[in-house]
């Protein structure tokens, strides 16, 4: 099913916004002013973009350590995100969280956990809340192939299916957890198949094809919103950067450069841009205009962050309880 051109442009913008933000982080991280670990999602942007395009701002979202893309695609405030990288009081977590712990309740993002798998049951719980209140929100959880190792995934999926909760499980399978390849951790090979155990449906999709992701997520969101319970979407992708920080894994000797090159050739953004241009939906000029607008937003966000105040030591003891 071919998507509407406005949707296509929005998907493209959404991906590009994430990419350019992450590249800015790569550029500025060596200054050591962002004093926290950063887990970049360059190469994986299509998933956040394709999924979040279906969500309303009051739909719930839970994410993990690699959450910048999810935050932005769900409509999170970029300035507050960048300010959080810089540990400022204007950060989305007022400097308490850092890059691994970002939140924007205005758009339904209720937090990101840096404990692998930790966010999954919470996503189910938010869906339960919506169901108990009789509201039609859905809840989305993003997690990696590493989180699929954890028993909590199964517990959560079983419960969600049992209670037919409106939650969508999005597994971003980038084939590695830190440096451990999927085959060293999973006896099975297709994560999506796990849904079958619970009498539910799994969809495995090319995570670098934003339209394919959009389609799959659309099916899952519709299914959930109709009260039919969860689906498991496995999106195959690759992270270009190291597990943490702006370097690459081949430089660190953790995997081959060839593998990375292959995936760079399948860049979700470049291929989609090419398609849009070929189909006359995008031209160089519009593309540049889009990129410039995003670049401006990013520049402004970094400026905002750097101009923002650092916390006072006395802030240490606030926010424990509300």
């Amino acid at each position: 099913m071919e998507l509407d051109t406005t949707v296509q442009i929005e998907l493209y913008k959404s991906m590009l916004r994430v990419r350019l933000l992450e590249e800015k982080v790569v550029e500025l991280y060596p200054d050591q002013e962002m004093k926290c670990p950063v887990h970049l999602c360059i190469g994986q942007e299509a998933i956040a973009a394709g999924v979040c395009a279906h969500l309303k701002s009051d739909d719930y979202l839970f994410s993990n350590h690699r959450g910048h893309g999810h935050y932005l695609a769900k409509g999170g405030d970029m300035r507050a995100l960048v300010a959080e990288f810089y540990g400022r009081t204007t950060g989305c977590s007022r400097g308490k969280g850092g890059s691994m712990h970002i939140i924007d309740t205005d758009v339904g993002l209720l937090g990101t956990s840096a404990i692998v798998g930790g966010g999954i049951p919470m996503g189910v719980g938010a869906a339960l809340a919506a169901t108990l209140r009789g509201e039609d929100q859905v809840s989305v959880v993003f997690f990696g192939d590493g989180a699929f190792d954890e028993g909590v995934f199964y517990e959560s999926y079983n419960f969600a299916t049992l209670k037919k909760l409106p939650v969508i499980f999005i597994c971003e399978n980038n084939f590695y957890a830190t440096n451990s390849p999927q085959r060293a951790r999973h006896a099975g090979s297709r994560i999506a198949d796990a849904a079958l155990v619970f009498g539910s449906t799994g969809i495995c999709v090319d995570g670098n094809d934003v339209e394919a992701v959009h389609n799959a997520a659309g099916t899952a969101v519709e299914h959930a919103r109709a009260g039919k319970g969860p689906m498991l979407v496995e999106a195959l992708t690759y992270r270009w950067k190291g597990h943490v920080g702006p370097g690459t894994d081949f430089e660190a000797g953790c995997r081959s450069e060839a593998e990375l090159r292959e995936w760079i050739d399948r860049c979700p953004i470049k291929s989609f841009r090419t398609k849009l241009i070929e189909n006359g939906i995008l031209n160089t000029e519009t593309n540049n205009r889009i990129a410039e607008a995003i670049t401006d937003e990013i520049e402004e966000a970094f400026q905002f962050a750097m101009d923002s105040p650092l916390p006072e030591p006395s802030d240490l003891l606030t926010d424990l309880f509300s």
């Binding site: 049951p121 919470m122 959560s156 419960f159 926010d319 424990l320």
Partner: protein
Amino acid sequence: MPWTKVYSDRSEFDLAVEKDPALRGLTYRDAILEASTQLLESDSDFFILGEGVDDPGGVFGTTKGLAERFGTERVMDTPLAENGITGVAMGAALAGMRPLLVHMRVDFMTISLDQIANHAAKWSYMFGGAVNVPLTIRAIIGRGWGSAAQHSQSLQAMFTQVPGLKVVMPATPYDAKGLLVSSIYDDNPVIFIEHRGLYETVGHVPKELYNIELGHGVVRREGADVTIVAISQMLSEAIKAARRLSNEGIECEIIDLRTLLPMDKGIIIESVKKTGRLVVADTGWKEGGYSAEVSAVIAEEAFDLLKAPVQRVALPNVPTPASHVLEAAFYKGENDIIEAVKRVVR
């Protein structure tokens, strides 16, 4: 105040009612059931979930009949998946509900410690106060009849060491009801630990829904010679000990903290000002237990008041044995409190 009184048994309460017919007696178990019922009636954001909450037995009676009356959506049985279900409850709390998660035994919460300590406890702080986690977790301390090592633990200290949690351990029916209500309406994660040995105790419990502010202890008995901080089921042991000691001319002041975290240091220090001596009687282990924190913090903040070292009456450093002979040797009671008092009162 009728609610500060602890009745050692049913007959003592019946006598009290004769004198004051306004006293309304309820067991500890029924106080919890009543609080849960009234919350279900009055607040649509409130719901209960946990293994067997819809069971005919109803978690030793504390949820009995609720599923029939309020439906299995609001009184929801769950799979045996403690970590996942705790995360589910937390997610529901983040999305604005006020869940009450129930565990038959606190032992099973070791499985869900990650969701409790790494998530629920940290979520407000970690996100600079952007969200809050109004989640309450009830758990019961089992004991006796060979429950043995994995079904008898008193794990409050596993929680009182986690910043971001509140920990409540009511010792009377009145407190069980009022503190449960307050825990539910607290916007933060509360671990609410009950002792099975208290379930049959009877006391005055008002009919209406009421709150007891978390964080405040209460003096259960006044006395000038030694302060006993007694936790949960140890309160009745302390009262028995105090009666016997009184016969020997030693007067104990007994403090029931009710909320372990945050600790009501003030009430302890006030008392120690008078007595100069402190005994802490806890249902948990001694080594690394909650009594260590009470001891340490009072020594820090009131060292000059102390005429003798703080004494801890708590469990020896082994798991719970099964054989009744060994159980008898393992658990602490009034005699141990009396010994501890005598070590410091000369």
